[in-house]
């Protein structure tokens, strides 16, 4: 079939030669017959006449041969295509409007598709033959279990070596880079199998060898970007680099873009052994756990591997997997650079976005379908003439569908152009929160494998907007249309009703998209109003690896420093750890934080009731507690919480519980301690601790208001000034809030963009439809104005008509919005269900846009003189 089509196309390509050959062949036949007749004694002229009569009509034979070669079919299609193109060229406004409307929708969809392809469609490159699987561990209750430690990975590597399975392990390892200014930088710590099994390119030097792992040598392989950021004088191999407070040796440079099994390209790679040593020196607990992938030879099934792994877990020492016993091991084929878990997260994030953009595409199709219907109202006579000349209904449908296809392809090309321009800037913007954390996402390039996806969308769109109008327009009595002012489309679905449906669909979808956008925008605005409860502008978290009293003394001596305190975990850095407690016979979970005695003073938080911890109580970790006002109200409503007792349940690694009874000595205001967007903590329990204790790893410094970035550099200098020089990275808590708010801001901007595109599609669509509808009625307007109607009356009537057309869409859309709102309010706790902006602002805006879209063409119509309008055909 394909070969025959190719042959046909080849003949069409060499059409002149083909025709010449065909003529030659028939001429040869004729000549042979003439020669035969002449040999029989017939005169030359008579022989020619008889030969021609015998051969019959040469042109008919040629046509039959062309048909047999498929050329007639091709000619028919080509002719229709040319006619369709001419038909489109006759309506440039329609073409531009439709291509813009569809192209915007296709473009937005392609951008998302491009992001998906860049992250999820490129399989990880391995340099060794085999299939790559992710290892996911589950506990006895099917809950996720933390991945494996470096030791466990070594045992597993030894155990699976006989089956030729390579165990590849890596983990994110963020370290402060000793450049000016010091910056937290995204890197990865890897095991010995990592580089040998994954395809990578060394730009200079070498990657790790077995000896680097055995000796835990302080060596690093850097990415090309980090290499280029080094001062020129330090760009040599082997060179040195300050990383996490240690001097390490640069042994190699990787080409830009190597991400290995990480979601983003790490800027440096460390050996797992050296990283453990580094963490130990920084005073961190060495409980590094690694994401594990398995490179499995062909022939070993995932099920067999899973069985072997489960057996292996049974042989582990009791305390090997520190927190939980492994009940199951999931072996999941790795389909992209992202791990199975990351792929799930990405799918969850992209699926609603892709659904939204598909909605946008449906709205655009409805819009263009409406434009098609409106436009054909101006072409009814042309269609009728074609029908009168013998065109069948199928031929007319084919012609209209070809126009739709050309239009869809044009829109697809526009969408592709939009994608090539916007993909990278949008990706960079969406990932800007990662840059703030020292992660540099890869530049995004348009992938030409998007082309089939674009063609598919164009084809779907073509049927989406072209088929209904084409069927509707050719189902009526076309002969009626040949008569001037005759009514077309008295078929099963009158065009006017179909137009109404399409218009309602696209207005409803636009309304849903716009209301959703407005809800997200109002959510983003609301997040700005969150009162953290303490001055985040003047509070700095040092992120020091091993803070001590000497550091505190150096910091407090600095001009501009008002207070220095410490805590087990700085506020606003993620979810607050929760602990089971018992109060009387009630059992509940409270957010807990261990703090130094001067913590509340440093945060400028007053003691509402009772008293603070003393220094002695804090250093002895006395069995005392302070609680937030909301905890007091929840636990002892209407009573004084002072001297009440709370039993705190601590669980150790083996799951053994120990209970400690603590006495409440004070109450402080309720503030935001965990994720900024989660709002004020409902319940909070503070327990005493002091700097120097193993858990107290975060140092908070309150600085003068209005202190500049120079103050942050001064604090960073203080970290490296003592006898135990350690690089630290000062972070304003307000910056932390900004980082956490960034996704919401990005989402709100993206939603605003989608909403704007949806509004633009609606405006363009309504404008196009109204323009064609008004054009079709110019004669009627002319007659009415000639009979004495004022232009204002006509204008009012057109506007009323346009409002009638979108009324049903408004009702449908608002009902859908109410449903969506109620669905979203439950999972997103502090999302306002019916924000004024969404439910009043958006419909008003859409109404204004609809009126403006109708007003412009109507105004053009009433400015015509009656004479001009009557002359209009």
């Amino acid at each position: 079939m394909i070969m025959r089509l190719l042959q046909t196309l080849k003949r069409a390509w060499h059409r002149k030669r083909y025709e010449r050959d065909l003529a030659d062949e028939l001429a040869f036949h004729l000549q042979c017959r003439v020669d035969a007749l002449v040999r029989q004694g017939v005169a030359q002229a008579e022989a020619l006449r008889r030969a021609r009569l015998e051969l019959g009509m040469v042109e008919l034979h040629r046509d039959a041969v062309r048909a047999a070669h498929g050329l007639l079919w091709l000619d028919r299609w080509w002719g229709d295509l040319v006619r369709a193109a001419r038909g489109l060229m006759a309506s440039p406004v329609f073409v531009i409007t439709s291509a813009l409307v569809l192209g915007l929708a296709i473009g937005v969809n392609l951008i998302l598709q491009g992001l998906w392809q860049n992250y999820l469609a490129n399989p990880p490159a391995t340099s060794v033959a085999g299939l790559l699987y992710d290892l996911e561990l589950r506990g006895n209750q099917a809950q996720f279990v933390a991945p494996l430690t470096a030791d466990e990975i070594q045992w597993l590597t030894r155990d699976l070596a006989s089956a030729n399975v390579s165990v590849i392990a890596s983990r994110q390892s963020n370290q402060v880079l000793g450049l000016t200014p010091p910056r937290m930088t995204y890197g990865a710590s890897v095991n010995a199998a990592y580089f040998p099994t994954l395809k990578h390119q060394i730009l200079a030097g070498r990657s790790f060898v077995a000896a680097d792992f055995a000796s835990a040598a302080p060596v690093v392989v850097v990415g090309e970007r980090l290499w280029n950021r080094l001062p020129p004088a330090e760009r040599r191999l082997p060179g040195t680099l300050k990383l996490g407070g240690q001097t390490v040796q640069i042994i190699g440079v990787l080409t830009d873009g190597f991400a290995g099994l990480e979601p983003f390209p790490p800027q440096f790679f460390l050996t797992d052994r050296f990283e453990s040593r580094l963490l130990q020196q920084q005073g961190n607990p060495i409980d590094s756990r690694f994401n594990t992938a398995l490179l499995v030879p062909a022939g070993l099934s995932a099920e067999t591997l899973r069985g072997r792994l489960l057996n292996w877990f049974q042989t582990l020492p009791r305390n090997a997997i520190a927190d939980e016993r492994v009940g199951d091991a999931h072996v999941l084929a790795r389909r992209s650079q992202l791990s199975a878990a990351e792929s799930r997260d990405a799918d969850v994030m992209l699926a609603p976005l892709i659904s939204l953009t598909l909605l946008l595409l449906i709205a655009a199709c409805a819009n263009v379908g409406n434009l098609m219907l409106a436009r054909v109202s101006l072409r009814q006579q042309e269609l009728a003439v074609r029908a009168s000349l013998g065109a069948s209904r199928w031929q007319l449908i084919r012609l209209l569908m070809l126009e739709s296809l050309l239009l869809a392809l044009l829109a697809g090309a526009f969408g592709m152009m939009l994608t090539s321009l916007a993909l990278d800037p949008l990706h960079r913007y969406a990932m800007s929160m990662l840059v703030a954390m020292g992660i540099e996402p890869l530049p995004m390039h348009i992938n030409w494998s998007l082309l089939p996806w674009m063609l598919l969308q164009a084809l779907v769109a073509c049927f989406g907007f072209g088929l209904l109008p084409a069927l509707s327009l050719t189902s009526g009595d076309l002969a009626q249309a040949a008569r001037r002012d005759g009514r077309l489309w008295q078929g099963r679905v009158p065009a006017a009703r179909l137009r109404g449906w399409l218009m309602s669909t696209q207005v409803a979808i636009s309304l849903v998209l716009l209301v959703l956008a407005a809800m997200i925008i109002s959510l983003s605005h609301k997040s700005r109003e969150i009162d953290i409860g303490y001055p985040t502008e003047t509070l700095v978290d040092l992120r020091h690896p091993s803070p001590d009293a000497a550091l505190r003394a150096r910091l407090i001596a600095l001009p501009g420093v008002r207070a220095v305190t410490s805590t087990a975990n700085a506020p606003l850095y993620g979810v607050v750890p929760r602990q089971q407690v018992r109060v009387g016979d009630r059992s509940l979970a409270l957010g807990t934080q261990t703090i130094a005695a001067d913590y509340f003073q440093a945060l400028s938080l007053p003691i509402v009731l009772g008293r603070n911890f003393t220094e002695a109580e804090a250093s002895q970790q006395s069995p005392l507690a302070m609680i937030s006002a909301s905890t007091a109200a929840a636990l002892w409503p209407g009573q004084s919480p002072l001297n009440q007792r709370i039993t705190v349940i601590d669980t150790d690694a083996d799951g053994l519980e120990t209970a400690q009874s603590v006495t409440v000595i004070g109450v402080v205001p309720s503030v935001v301690s965990g994720l900024p967007l989660a709002g004020i903590d409902g319940t909070m329990l503070y327990r005493p601790g002091a700097l120097g204790q193993p858990a107290m790893r975060d140092v908070l410094v309150r600085i003068d208001a209005g202190a500049t970035d120079a103050m942050l550099n001064t604090l960073a200098d203080a970290c490296v000034a003592g006898p135990n020089p350690q690089i630290c990275q000062p972070w304003r808590l307000s910056d932390m809030v900004s980082v956490y708010r960034l996704p919401l801001i990005v989402c709100s901007h993206l939603a605003a963009g989608l909403g704007f595109i949806s509004l633009l599609i609606s405006a363009l669509g309504l404008f196009g439809v109204m323009r064609f509808q008004v054009r079709a009625r110019w004669r009627e307007f002319g007659i009415r104005i000639a009979l004495g109607a004022t232009p204002q009356t006509v204008l009012r009537q057109v506007l009323r008509q346009s409002l009638r057309q979108i009324r049903a869409g408004f009702v449908l859309g608002l009902v859908a919005c109410l449903g969506v709102s109620l669905l979203l309010v439950k999972p997103i706790g502090w999302l306002q269900a019916f924000p004024l902006l969404a439910y009043v602002g958006v419909p008003t805006l859409l109404l204004l846009v609809a009126l403006a879209s109708a007003w412009w063409p109507a105004r053009q119509a009433v400015r015509l003189s009656a004479l001009e309008a009557l002359r209009e055909r």
Partner: protein, 114 residues
Amino acid sequence: MNFSSVMPGTLDLLVLKSLSLGREHGYGILLRIQRASQDVLQVEQGALYPALARLEAQGLISAEWGVSENNRRAKFYELTRDGKARLKSDTQDWRRFAGALEQVLNTPSLGALT
């Protein structure tokens, strides 16, 4: 009934059979069929070329330009491997059909069968 023109559906088979004797141009195929049938079968000259085009499109015959016996530029057709297979199967089908038709026609009367 006039059987001088070929029966519908049999022209392709006749063309394939005549080409099994060797490569030939359109007019030569016509002559081969006429001679082989001792001038009983008259191929409509206009029907020959669409049949050749159809067979060529199906890949059953191949065509190339050459020089004829009278020193003119002519298009010569040749049987392909698929064409040979088709000729074999179509010939068997035709023989089965013709034999069955012959048997029916040789039956003295339908009454004798009951």
